[in-house]
Symmetry: C2
Amino acid sequence: MDKNLNENQAQGGENRTELEELGEFGLIDRLTESFSVHNPQSTLKGVGDDAAVLQMPQGQVQLVSKDLLMEGVHFDMTYCPLKHLGYKAIAVNLSDIAAMNAKPAQVLVGIAVSNRYSLEALEELYAGMRLCCDRYGVDLVGGDTVSSRAGLAISVTVIGYAEPQKVAYRGGAKENDLLCVSGNLGGAYAGLLLLEREKREFLANPKMQPDFQDFSYVLERQLKPEPRLDIVDLLAELNVVPTSMIDVSDGLASEILHLSKASDCGCMLYQSKIPVDAETCKALEMFKILPETAALSGGEDYELLFTVAQKDYEKIKDNAKIKIIGHMVEKAQGTFLVPENGSLIPLTAQGWQAFNKR
Amino acid sequence: MDKNLNENQAQGGENRTELEELGEFGLIDRLTESFSVHNPQSTLKGVGDDAAVLQMPQGQVQLVSKDLLMEGVHFDMTYCPLKHLGYKAIAVNLSDIAAMNAKPAQVLVGIAVSNRYSLEALEELYAGMRLCCDRYGVDLVGGDTVSSRAGLAISVTVIGYAEPQKVAYRGGAKENDLLCVSGNLGGAYAGLLLLEREKREFLANPKMQPDFQDFSYVLERQLKPEPRLDIVDLLAELNVVPTSMIDVSDGLASEILHLSKASDCGCMLYQSKIPVDAETCKALEMFKILPETAALSGGEDYELLFTVAQKDYEKIKDNAKIKIIGHMVEKAQGTFLVPENGSLIPLTAQGWQAFNKR
């Protein structure tokens, strides 16, 4: 990782064009002109009018979600490269559509920037957004670009589509359903710990070289997460409709509690089944944090957590992309982490308060 | 106007509940629970999952737009009551849908707040949003509530619907079309000047009493604008589809230039026809600002500016809600303000740079 990717990136390096030189409309044109249209059947009119004009694909319903990302709360310009930030801002929104078992088709992006940011810096941000849009076949159809007194705010609205009978809500899990996750957890949090350590050391000694050797995977989990849209396709291929679904943004514990509460169920999560990658374990060890703690409360892994009816067990049991980590029980039994010794530890959500306010 | 409606409102007065006490999900529940569903046919699932689920009305297209409002840039907590702010945040977005000659049905609201804001303060904000949603029959279907390091950011996405042949784009105006506006201009800017003067005086002498006598209309134009959805209904009744349309958010000059550019036309705007209300003129006089200057460059009036084909002249000519202020010409003729003496003054847009960065 390039240690020059720090606060100075907002300045845009050697070539700095002031935003005032372009004005609002010139800026929007400049930032959005290189995006291509992937979904001409639903995107009738994109950027450039008072509103985008969309057509819904025949027989489908529409999914709409939005996220607001604030500098200093959701990202830190000291270690988050603008291109990665743009990619991540789109990716985490696409993940919300994946979490409904649907496919995204359009995004709208609003940004608020102070004059600390140059045109070149914003072009980096949008280059990351475009990369993610192109990768997942999503159209940028609207934008709003305004001034902020300080810092950068990014607001993304994402729109997707699905056949109505395939939409997976949080509230559909039933007793005995299998609890599944699409990949390993805790990596994004391990990446964050590494980046924050480097930031402290960099602030103490700006000449230091970052020591990120052997940790490219967890850094990527933090800086450039991928929405698991491949899982939506996989489930369709396997002919499985999850009974409930959510994405792991706040940590496994918080998400399980959401599914349990919305579905009026309890849940047993088997500690030994929680997938944590070896590099993640190694990184966490340096910070004396247990792998299960990072998985349960770390957040930002953007894996899909879902429940599958027992009747579909045969369809998923041998699939390497789907890990069964527990099962739903009746509500009265409660929601627990079950360690190997068979004891029951009540699950509590520490996601938001503990981590998102950093 | 109550002079206590100042910065202290963020504190929530005597009853102050800290946001930390509720957590993110408790907060969203609390803020959104009292909103009702007005459009059950298109709003299948609102707040409470990873995404809202919508159904498009048969035979219609969808319009989507978003706006980002930043404290200190778009609003000033010194004089903008939170309830009015909530109302205005929704209203200006509904105006974007009106500007497509369409009707809004859903909004999603993201807010970023610092811990300076109490639950009670946010409830005031959402009470204003609810008032506007109820007035215009719009459903709140999604939300995101995050922390900010400083200040308040409000991000609104609005969704509306229209029959495809009735959608009015910016780019449809033709030579000889009549240029029309739905109401008087410059009032919102006059209101802003008054509020800023009171702020300066209040900061110099916090015991002063605001002198807003006789200016309730222009204050309301600034603090609580209404989207002109009645004009969308009126045009439907009159069986008129505007050839182009935009809402006056940045000032008449800027909007005329948008329509002209998008439509590949020129435009003649007759200065004597620009409607400015008498109270607006009186307020502007105190600041030695010409009415036409406020109308052309003030912005935030949220009236609809549209063009109508000559063949529809008879349908609109006697309607008190529609004022004909000019006509489109061929592009080569250019875009001009025409004073009574018949001279031609080139129209220039000073909207964004001059005002939105206040």
